[in-house]
Protein backbone atom coordinates (compact mmCIF):
# COMPACT_ATOMS: atom_id res chain seq x y z
CA UNK A 1 0.00 0.00 0.00
CA UNK A 2 2.77 2.42 0.91
CA UNK A 3 4.46 1.87 -2.42
CA UNK A 4 1.29 2.60 -4.33
CA UNK A 5 0.83 5.83 -2.38
CA UNK A 6 4.36 6.93 -3.13
CA UNK A 7 3.79 6.50 -6.84
CA UNK A 8 0.75 8.74 -6.87
CA UNK A 9 2.58 11.85 -5.81
CA UNK A 10 5.41 13.27 -7.86
CA UNK A 11 8.88 14.15 -6.61
CA UNK A 12 11.80 14.71 -9.01
CA UNK A 13 15.13 12.88 -8.58
CA UNK A 14 16.92 16.20 -8.04
CA UNK A 15 15.15 18.61 -5.68
CA UNK A 16 13.88 21.76 -7.40
CA UNK A 17 11.91 24.85 -6.57
CA UNK A 18 10.96 28.37 -7.65
CA UNK A 19 14.08 30.49 -8.18
CA UNK A 20 11.98 33.47 -9.29
CA UNK A 21 8.36 34.61 -9.48
CA UNK A 22 6.60 37.59 -10.97
CA UNK A 23 3.03 38.86 -11.24
CA UNK A 24 1.20 40.96 -13.76
CA UNK A 25 -2.21 42.61 -13.39
CA UNK A 26 -3.42 45.31 -15.82
CA UNK A 27 -4.50 48.71 -14.46
CA UNK A 28 -8.17 48.89 -15.46
CA UNK A 29 -10.99 47.80 -13.10
CA UNK A 30 -14.62 47.09 -13.96
CA UNK A 31 -16.79 47.17 -10.82
CA UNK A 32 -19.25 44.25 -10.71
CA UNK A 33 -22.00 46.81 -10.05
CA UNK A 34 -21.42 48.10 -13.62
CA UNK A 35 -22.26 44.66 -15.04
CA UNK A 36 -25.32 44.49 -12.78
CA UNK A 37 -26.35 48.03 -13.88
CA UNK A 38 -26.32 47.04 -17.57
CA UNK A 39 -27.87 43.58 -17.39
CA UNK A 40 -29.93 43.45 -14.18
CA UNK A 41 -31.04 47.04 -13.71
CA UNK A 42 -28.55 47.24 -10.83
CA UNK A 43 -30.70 44.91 -8.76
CA UNK A 44 -28.38 41.89 -8.62
CA UNK A 45 -25.99 40.70 -5.95
CA UNK A 46 -22.39 40.51 -7.22
CA UNK A 47 -19.90 37.63 -6.77
CA UNK A 48 -16.86 39.94 -6.44
CA UNK A 49 -16.17 43.70 -6.02
CA UNK A 50 -14.40 44.32 -9.31
CA UNK A 51 -12.25 42.68 -11.95
CA UNK A 52 -9.02 43.64 -13.71
CA UNK A 53 -9.35 44.42 -17.41
CA UNK A 54 -6.55 44.49 -19.99
CA UNK A 55 -5.98 47.69 -21.99
CA UNK A 56 -6.27 47.98 -25.77
CA UNK A 57 -2.59 47.19 -26.29
CA UNK A 58 -2.44 44.26 -23.86
CA UNK A 59 -2.92 40.53 -24.38
CA UNK A 60 -1.56 37.27 -23.00
CA UNK A 61 1.73 37.83 -24.87
CA UNK A 62 2.44 41.31 -23.45
CA UNK A 63 1.25 40.38 -19.96
CA UNK A 64 3.39 37.23 -19.94
CA UNK A 65 6.43 39.25 -20.99
CA UNK A 66 6.09 41.63 -18.03
CA UNK A 67 5.49 38.81 -15.52
CA UNK A 68 8.48 36.91 -16.95
CA UNK A 69 10.70 40.00 -16.61
CA UNK A 70 9.64 40.29 -12.96
CA UNK A 71 10.44 36.61 -12.38
CA UNK A 72 13.85 37.09 -14.02
CA UNK A 73 14.56 40.15 -11.85
CA UNK A 74 13.94 38.00 -8.75
CA UNK A 75 15.82 34.95 -10.06
CA UNK A 76 18.86 37.02 -11.07
CA UNK A 77 19.88 34.51 -13.72
CA UNK A 78 20.91 34.90 -17.35
CA UNK A 79 17.71 34.50 -19.44
CA UNK A 80 19.72 32.58 -22.05
CA UNK A 81 20.12 29.76 -19.48
CA UNK A 82 16.36 29.00 -19.56
CA UNK A 83 15.62 25.84 -21.59
CA UNK A 84 11.82 26.00 -21.76
CA UNK A 85 9.25 28.80 -22.01
CA UNK A 86 5.79 27.35 -21.42
CA UNK A 87 2.70 29.57 -21.33
CA UNK A 88 -0.65 28.24 -20.12
CA UNK A 89 -3.74 30.22 -21.14
CA UNK A 90 -7.29 30.11 -22.49
CA UNK A 91 -6.72 33.33 -24.42
CA UNK A 92 -3.61 32.92 -26.55
CA UNK A 93 -3.73 35.76 -29.14
CA UNK A 94 -3.14 33.36 -32.03
CA UNK A 95 -4.89 30.03 -32.67
CA UNK A 96 -1.77 28.89 -34.51
CA UNK A 97 1.58 30.50 -33.62
CA UNK A 98 2.91 30.17 -30.10
CA UNK A 99 2.63 32.88 -27.47
CA UNK A 100 5.77 31.41 -25.97
CA UNK A 101 8.10 32.19 -28.91
CA UNK A 102 7.34 35.91 -28.62
CA UNK A 103 7.87 35.78 -24.85
CA UNK A 104 11.15 33.85 -25.25
CA UNK A 105 12.41 36.37 -27.81
CA UNK A 106 11.42 39.38 -25.70
CA UNK A 107 13.21 38.18 -22.56
CA UNK A 108 16.42 37.27 -24.45
CA UNK A 109 16.08 33.49 -24.19
CA UNK A 110 16.19 32.57 -27.91
CA UNK A 111 17.29 30.45 -29.69
CA UNK A 112 18.47 27.65 -27.36
CA UNK A 113 15.13 26.82 -25.76
CA UNK A 114 11.92 24.83 -25.96
CA UNK A 115 8.80 26.94 -26.30
CA UNK A 116 5.17 25.85 -26.27
CA UNK A 117 1.68 26.92 -25.24
CA UNK A 118 -0.33 24.87 -22.79
CA UNK A 119 -4.07 24.42 -22.58
CA UNK A 120 -6.16 22.96 -19.78
CA UNK A 121 -8.74 25.61 -18.97
CA UNK A 122 -7.80 27.29 -15.67
CA UNK A 123 -5.02 24.87 -14.75
CA UNK A 124 -2.90 25.28 -17.90
CA UNK A 125 -0.39 27.28 -15.83
CA UNK A 126 0.07 24.73 -13.04
CA UNK A 127 0.24 21.98 -15.66
CA UNK A 128 3.21 23.88 -17.18
CA UNK A 129 4.77 24.10 -13.70
CA UNK A 130 4.37 20.33 -13.17
CA UNK A 131 6.19 19.73 -16.46
CA UNK A 132 8.88 22.27 -15.54
CA UNK A 133 9.43 20.45 -12.21
CA UNK A 134 10.10 17.26 -14.16
CA UNK A 135 12.22 19.00 -16.79
CA UNK A 136 14.52 20.65 -14.23
CA UNK A 137 14.31 17.81 -11.68
CA UNK A 138 15.54 15.28 -14.23
CA UNK A 139 18.62 17.36 -14.94
CA UNK A 140 17.65 17.97 -18.58
CA UNK A 141 17.54 21.70 -17.89
CA UNK A 142 18.87 23.98 -15.18
CA UNK A 143 15.98 26.45 -15.55
CA UNK A 144 12.48 26.42 -17.04
CA UNK A 145 9.93 29.24 -17.20
CA UNK A 146 6.25 28.40 -16.63
CA UNK A 147 3.51 31.01 -16.97
CA UNK A 148 -0.25 31.07 -16.33
CA UNK A 149 -1.91 34.14 -17.86
CA UNK A 150 -5.34 35.05 -19.17
CA UNK A 151 -7.54 37.84 -20.49
CA UNK A 152 -10.69 35.92 -19.70
CA UNK A 153 -13.82 36.40 -21.78
CA UNK A 154 -17.42 36.17 -20.63
CA UNK A 155 -20.37 36.41 -22.99
CA UNK A 156 -22.13 39.77 -22.51
CA UNK A 157 -24.83 39.30 -19.87
CA UNK A 158 -23.57 35.85 -18.79
CA UNK A 159 -22.88 35.39 -15.05
CA UNK A 160 -19.21 34.88 -16.01
CA UNK A 161 -19.02 38.50 -17.16
CA UNK A 162 -18.94 39.71 -13.53
CA UNK A 163 -15.76 37.77 -12.81
CA UNK A 164 -13.81 37.02 -16.03
CA UNK A 165 -10.66 39.11 -15.41
CA UNK A 166 -7.10 39.60 -16.65
CA UNK A 167 -3.77 38.79 -15.03
CA UNK A 168 -1.41 36.00 -14.07
CA UNK A 169 2.09 35.08 -13.03
CA UNK A 170 5.41 33.64 -14.17
CA UNK A 171 7.64 31.18 -12.30
CA UNK A 172 11.21 30.09 -12.98
CA UNK A 173 11.90 26.53 -11.84
CA UNK A 174 15.48 25.61 -10.97
CA UNK A 175 17.77 23.84 -8.47
CA UNK A 176 16.48 23.72 -4.87
CA UNK A 177 19.63 25.32 -3.47
CA UNK A 178 18.93 28.46 -5.55
CA UNK A 179 15.21 28.49 -4.80
CA UNK A 180 13.11 30.89 -2.75
CA UNK A 181 10.52 28.12 -2.33
CA UNK A 182 11.34 24.42 -2.69
CA UNK A 183 8.76 22.01 -4.13
CA UNK A 184 8.21 19.25 -1.54
CA UNK A 185 5.96 17.21 -3.80
CA UNK A 186 3.11 17.55 -6.25
CA UNK A 187 0.06 15.62 -7.34
CA UNK A 188 -2.48 15.77 -10.14
CA UNK A 189 -6.11 14.55 -10.13
CA UNK A 190 -7.84 14.25 -13.51
CA UNK A 191 -11.22 13.01 -14.80
CA UNK A 192 -13.33 13.61 -17.90
CA UNK A 193 -15.90 16.09 -16.53
CA UNK A 194 -17.67 18.47 -18.96
CA UNK A 195 -18.39 21.43 -16.62
CA UNK A 196 -17.11 24.26 -18.84
CA UNK A 197 -15.88 24.38 -22.43
CA UNK A 198 -15.42 26.46 -25.54
CA UNK A 199 -15.70 24.90 -28.98
CA UNK A 200 -12.89 25.64 -31.46
CA UNK A 201 -14.57 28.46 -33.43
CA UNK A 202 -16.55 30.04 -30.60
CA UNK A 203 -15.58 33.36 -29.02
CA UNK A 204 -17.18 32.77 -25.62
CA UNK A 205 -17.22 29.69 -23.37
CA UNK A 206 -20.26 27.64 -22.32
CA UNK A 207 -20.80 26.05 -18.92
CA UNK A 208 -22.87 23.34 -17.31
CA UNK A 209 -24.61 25.78 -14.92
CA UNK A 210 -24.98 24.03 -11.53
CA UNK A 211 -22.75 21.21 -12.72
CA UNK A 212 -19.71 23.50 -12.20
CA UNK A 213 -19.69 23.25 -8.40
CA UNK A 214 -19.95 19.92 -6.58
CA UNK A 215 -18.74 17.27 -9.09
CA UNK A 216 -16.26 19.63 -10.71
CA UNK A 217 -14.51 22.30 -8.61
CA UNK A 218 -15.11 20.88 -5.12
CA UNK A 219 -14.56 17.20 -5.88
CA UNK A 220 -11.31 17.72 -7.81
CA UNK A 221 -9.76 20.25 -5.43
CA UNK A 222 -10.54 18.32 -2.24
CA UNK A 223 -9.33 15.08 -3.83
CA UNK A 224 -6.00 16.49 -4.99
CA UNK A 225 -5.32 18.44 -1.77
CA UNK A 226 -6.14 15.42 0.41
CA UNK A 227 -4.12 12.94 -1.67
CA UNK A 228 -1.04 15.18 -1.59
CA UNK A 229 -1.24 15.91 2.14
CA UNK A 230 -1.82 12.25 2.95
CA UNK A 231 1.20 11.15 0.91
CA UNK A 232 3.43 13.84 2.42
CA UNK A 233 2.11 13.25 5.93
CA UNK A 234 1.08 16.89 6.31
CA UNK A 235 -2.08 18.44 7.76
CA UNK A 236 -3.76 21.80 7.12
CA UNK A 237 -2.27 23.12 10.38
CA UNK A 238 1.26 22.57 8.95
CA UNK A 239 0.68 25.25 6.30
CA UNK A 240 1.12 28.99 6.79
CA UNK A 241 -0.80 29.74 3.58
CA UNK A 242 -3.13 27.96 1.19
CA UNK A 243 -4.02 29.11 -2.33
CA UNK A 244 -6.87 27.68 -4.41
CA UNK A 245 -8.18 28.40 -7.88
CA UNK A 246 -10.63 31.25 -7.32
CA UNK A 247 -13.51 31.56 -9.82
CA UNK A 248 -15.43 33.69 -7.30
CA UNK A 249 -15.08 34.55 -3.60
CA UNK A 250 -17.32 31.82 -2.18
CA UNK A 251 -15.86 28.67 -3.79
CA UNK A 252 -12.32 28.96 -2.35
CA UNK A 253 -13.74 30.00 1.04
CA UNK A 254 -15.98 26.94 1.12
CA UNK A 255 -13.34 24.46 -0.07
CA UNK A 256 -10.87 25.87 2.48
CA UNK A 257 -13.39 25.24 5.26
CA UNK A 258 -14.17 21.73 4.01
CA UNK A 259 -10.48 20.81 4.01
CA UNK A 260 -9.88 22.33 7.46
CA UNK A 261 -8.05 25.55 6.60
CA UNK A 262 -8.72 28.83 8.39
CA UNK A 263 -9.59 32.27 7.03
CA UNK A 264 -6.09 33.48 8.01
CA UNK A 265 -4.37 30.81 5.89
CA UNK A 266 -6.53 31.67 2.87
CA UNK A 267 -6.72 35.47 3.06
CA UNK A 268 -3.27 36.53 1.73
CA UNK A 269 -3.74 34.72 -1.58
CA UNK A 270 -7.45 35.38 -2.11
CA UNK A 271 -7.31 38.08 -4.78
CA UNK A 272 -10.53 37.31 -6.68
CA UNK A 273 -12.68 39.99 -4.94
CA UNK A 274 -10.29 42.68 -6.24
CA UNK A 275 -9.08 41.37 -9.65
CA UNK A 276 -11.66 38.76 -10.69
CA UNK A 277 -11.15 35.22 -11.92
CA UNK A 278 -8.03 35.34 -14.05
CA UNK A 279 -8.43 31.72 -15.20
CA UNK A 280 -5.05 30.10 -15.91
CA UNK A 281 -3.46 32.89 -13.84
CA UNK A 282 -5.87 32.61 -10.91
CA UNK A 283 -4.15 30.33 -8.37
CA UNK A 284 -0.75 31.40 -9.69
CA UNK A 285 -1.19 35.14 -9.15
CA UNK A 286 -2.66 34.33 -5.72
CA UNK A 287 0.57 32.49 -4.98
CA UNK A 288 2.65 35.59 -5.88
CA UNK A 289 0.78 37.59 -3.24
CA UNK A 290 1.45 34.80 -0.72
CA UNK A 291 5.17 34.70 -1.61
CA UNK A 292 5.28 38.50 -1.18
CA UNK A 293 4.07 37.94 2.39
CA UNK A 294 6.17 34.84 3.14
CA UNK A 295 9.04 34.34 5.55
CA UNK A 296 11.71 31.61 5.55
CA UNK A 297 10.26 28.36 6.95
CA UNK A 298 6.70 29.03 5.82
CA UNK A 299 4.85 26.21 4.13
CA UNK A 300 2.41 26.84 1.28
CA UNK A 301 -0.21 24.56 -0.28
CA UNK A 302 -1.17 25.49 -3.87
CA UNK A 303 -4.21 23.80 -5.43
CA UNK A 304 -5.38 24.73 -8.92
CA UNK A 305 -8.50 23.68 -10.80
CA UNK A 306 -9.10 23.40 -14.52
CA UNK A 307 -12.44 22.58 -16.09
CA UNK A 308 -12.69 19.46 -18.10
CA UNK A 309 -11.45 18.58 -15.37
CA UNK A 310 -8.40 18.39 -13.16
CA UNK A 311 -6.55 19.78 -10.16
CA UNK A 312 -2.83 20.15 -9.44
CA UNK A 313 -1.66 20.32 -5.84
CA UNK A 314 1.84 21.38 -4.76
CA UNK A 315 3.45 21.68 -1.36
CA UNK A 316 6.10 24.40 -1.09
CA UNK A 317 8.65 25.19 1.59
CA UNK A 318 9.93 28.79 1.70
CA UNK A 319 13.70 29.36 2.06
CA UNK A 320 15.97 32.21 3.24
CA UNK A 321 16.26 33.48 -0.34
CA UNK A 322 12.68 34.80 -0.18
CA UNK A 323 13.77 37.85 1.82
CA UNK A 324 16.22 39.29 -0.75
CA UNK A 325 13.81 38.47 -3.60
CA UNK A 326 10.92 40.58 -2.34
CA UNK A 327 12.34 43.95 -3.36
CA UNK A 328 13.76 42.88 -6.72
CA UNK A 329 10.45 43.33 -8.62
CA UNK A 330 7.07 44.99 -8.02
CA UNK A 331 4.85 43.25 -5.46
CA UNK A 332 1.45 41.96 -6.49
CA UNK A 333 -0.14 44.55 -4.21
CA UNK A 334 1.63 47.31 -6.25
CA UNK A 335 -0.22 46.11 -9.34
CA UNK A 336 -3.55 45.82 -7.50
CA UNK A 337 -3.15 49.35 -6.13
CA UNK A 338 -2.49 50.71 -9.64
CA UNK A 339 -6.19 51.05 -10.31
CA UNK A 340 -8.17 52.98 -12.93
CA UNK A 341 -11.92 52.42 -12.81
CA UNK A 342 -13.76 52.11 -16.12
CA UNK A 343 -17.45 51.92 -17.06
CA UNK A 344 -19.18 49.20 -19.09
CA UNK A 345 -18.90 51.14 -22.36
CA UNK A 346 -15.12 51.52 -22.06
CA UNK A 347 -14.89 47.87 -21.07
CA UNK A 348 -16.91 46.86 -24.13
CA UNK A 349 -14.47 48.76 -26.37
CA UNK A 350 -11.36 47.38 -24.64
CA UNK A 351 -12.52 43.80 -24.90
CA UNK A 352 -13.68 43.96 -28.51
CA UNK A 353 -17.34 43.50 -27.64
CA UNK A 354 -18.45 46.15 -30.14
CA UNK A 355 -19.16 44.95 -33.64
CA UNK A 356 -20.32 47.05 -36.58
Amino acid sequence: MTEERDQKIMQPKNPVGFVGYGAYIPRYRLPATEVARIWKGGAAGTPIDEKAVAGLDEDVITMSIEAARNALARAQINPADIRAVWVGSESHPYSVKPTSTVVAEAIGDTPHTLAADWEFACKAGTEAIQAAIGFTGSGMARYALAIGMDTAQGRPGDPLEYTAGAGGAAYILGPADESLAVVEGSYSYTTDTPDFWRRADEKYPSHGERFTGEPAYFHHITSSAQELMEALGTKPVDYTFVVFHQPNTKFPQRVAKTLGFTHEQLEAGLLVPRIGNVYAGSALVGLTAVLDASKPGDRILLVSYGSGAGSDAMSLHVTERILESHELAPRTEDYINRRTEIDYATYARFRGKLSQ
Binding site: L56, E58, I65
Partner: protein, 133 residues
Amino acid sequence: MEITSHWRIKKQRYSLVGEECPHCSAKIFPPRDICPECGDEAKDHYQFSGRGEVYSYTTLYNAPAGYEEQAPYTVAMVQLEEGPLVTAQLTDIDVKEPEVGMPVEMVTRKLGSEGDRGILIYGYKFRPVLETA
Protein backbone atom coordinates in the same frame (compact mmCIF):
# COMPACT_ATOMS: atom_id res chain seq x y z
CA MET B 1 5.94 46.98 -43.57
CA GLU B 2 6.62 43.50 -44.89
CA ILE B 3 6.62 40.57 -42.45
CA THR B 4 10.36 40.13 -43.06
CA SER B 5 11.04 43.75 -42.02
CA HIS B 6 9.14 43.27 -38.76
CA TRP B 7 10.96 40.01 -38.18
CA ARG B 8 14.43 41.47 -38.75
CA ILE B 9 14.07 44.20 -36.10
CA LYS B 10 12.19 42.17 -33.47
CA LYS B 11 14.96 42.10 -30.89
CA GLN B 12 15.43 45.87 -30.78
CA ARG B 13 11.68 46.40 -30.83
CA TYR B 14 10.59 43.79 -28.25
CA SER B 15 13.15 44.64 -25.63
CA LEU B 16 15.06 47.81 -26.51
CA VAL B 17 18.30 46.10 -27.49
CA GLY B 18 20.72 48.58 -29.11
CA GLU B 19 24.48 48.83 -29.42
CA GLU B 20 27.42 50.02 -27.38
CA CYS B 21 30.43 51.61 -29.08
CA PRO B 22 33.62 49.68 -28.19
CA HIS B 23 35.70 52.82 -28.84
CA CYS B 24 33.92 55.60 -26.93
CA SER B 25 31.26 53.62 -24.91
CA ALA B 26 28.37 55.59 -26.42
CA LYS B 27 25.04 53.75 -26.17
CA ILE B 28 23.27 53.60 -29.51
CA PHE B 29 19.54 53.25 -30.32
CA PRO B 30 18.23 52.31 -32.77
CA PRO B 31 21.17 50.09 -33.70
CA ARG B 32 23.00 51.30 -36.85
CA ASP B 33 26.42 49.59 -36.56
CA ILE B 34 28.22 52.96 -36.81
CA CYS B 35 28.74 55.09 -33.69
CA PRO B 36 27.07 58.51 -34.14
CA GLU B 37 29.53 59.99 -31.59
CA CYS B 38 32.91 58.91 -32.99
CA GLY B 39 32.06 57.45 -36.39
CA ASP B 40 33.71 54.08 -35.74
CA GLU B 41 32.14 50.66 -36.16
CA ALA B 42 29.88 49.68 -33.23
CA LYS B 43 28.17 46.28 -33.30
CA ASP B 44 28.20 45.11 -29.65
CA HIS B 45 24.65 44.45 -28.40
CA TYR B 46 23.52 46.56 -25.47
CA GLN B 47 20.37 45.98 -23.38
CA PHE B 48 18.96 49.36 -22.39
CA SER B 49 17.51 49.66 -18.88
CA GLY B 50 14.23 50.98 -20.30
CA ARG B 51 14.19 53.93 -17.90
CA GLY B 52 14.01 57.50 -19.15
CA GLU B 53 11.92 60.65 -19.15
CA VAL B 54 9.47 62.35 -21.50
CA TYR B 55 11.32 64.91 -23.64
CA SER B 56 8.33 66.01 -25.72
CA TYR B 57 4.99 64.56 -26.79
CA THR B 58 2.01 64.88 -29.08
CA THR B 59 -1.42 63.22 -29.05
CA LEU B 60 -2.78 61.58 -32.21
CA TYR B 61 -6.54 61.52 -32.66
CA ASN B 62 -6.40 60.30 -36.28
CA ALA B 63 -4.15 57.25 -36.27
CA PRO B 64 -2.50 55.86 -39.40
CA ALA B 65 -3.77 52.60 -40.96
CA GLY B 66 -3.20 49.56 -38.72
CA TYR B 67 -3.16 51.69 -35.55
CA GLU B 68 -6.76 52.97 -35.47
CA GLU B 69 -7.76 50.42 -32.88
CA GLN B 70 -5.83 52.19 -30.12
CA ALA B 71 -6.58 55.86 -31.04
CA PRO B 72 -6.41 58.38 -29.53
CA TYR B 73 -2.90 57.83 -28.20
CA THR B 74 0.14 59.85 -27.25
CA VAL B 75 3.51 59.60 -28.97
CA ALA B 76 6.54 60.89 -27.07
CA MET B 77 10.22 61.44 -27.55
CA VAL B 78 11.76 59.71 -24.57
CA GLN B 79 15.27 60.50 -23.40
CA LEU B 80 16.71 57.19 -22.21
CA GLU B 81 18.89 57.35 -19.10
CA GLU B 82 21.78 56.06 -21.23
CA GLY B 83 21.42 59.05 -23.58
CA PRO B 84 19.58 58.26 -26.83
CA LEU B 85 16.24 59.83 -27.74
CA VAL B 86 13.59 57.30 -28.76
CA THR B 87 10.19 57.95 -30.31
CA ALA B 88 7.47 55.68 -28.91
CA GLN B 89 3.87 55.56 -27.74
CA LEU B 90 3.03 56.25 -24.12
CA THR B 91 0.68 53.72 -22.54
CA ASP B 92 -1.21 53.15 -19.27
CA ILE B 93 -1.83 56.86 -19.31
CA ASP B 94 -4.87 58.97 -20.01
CA VAL B 95 -4.55 61.27 -23.00
CA LYS B 96 -4.53 64.42 -20.82
CA GLU B 97 -1.94 63.17 -18.32
CA PRO B 98 1.58 63.36 -19.83
CA GLU B 99 4.06 66.08 -19.00
CA VAL B 100 7.60 66.90 -20.07
CA GLY B 101 10.16 65.45 -17.63
CA MET B 102 7.83 62.68 -16.43
CA PRO B 103 9.81 59.51 -15.52
CA VAL B 104 8.81 56.55 -17.66
CA GLU B 105 9.78 52.89 -18.11
CA MET B 106 9.73 50.59 -21.13
CA VAL B 107 7.05 47.92 -21.52
CA THR B 108 6.39 45.61 -24.45
CA ARG B 109 2.88 46.06 -25.85
CA LYS B 110 0.80 45.43 -28.93
CA LEU B 111 1.50 48.15 -31.50
CA GLY B 112 -1.15 47.06 -33.99
CA SER B 113 -2.00 44.35 -36.45
CA GLU B 114 -1.93 43.88 -40.18
CA GLY B 115 -5.69 43.49 -40.51
CA ASP B 116 -7.83 40.72 -39.00
CA ARG B 117 -5.86 37.97 -40.71
CA GLY B 118 -2.35 39.44 -40.52
CA ILE B 119 0.34 39.18 -37.88
CA LEU B 120 0.19 41.01 -34.57
CA ILE B 121 2.95 43.60 -34.11
CA TYR B 122 4.54 43.94 -30.67
CA GLY B 123 7.09 46.48 -29.53
CA TYR B 124 8.27 48.91 -26.88
CA LYS B 125 6.10 51.62 -25.41
CA PHE B 126 6.69 53.68 -22.27
CA ARG B 127 4.46 54.06 -19.23
CA PRO B 128 4.66 56.15 -16.05
CA VAL B 129 7.02 54.35 -13.63
CA LEU B 130 5.02 51.82 -11.61
CA GLU B 131 4.63 53.05 -8.04
CA THR B 132 5.93 50.50 -5.55
CA ALA B 133 5.22 50.54 -1.83
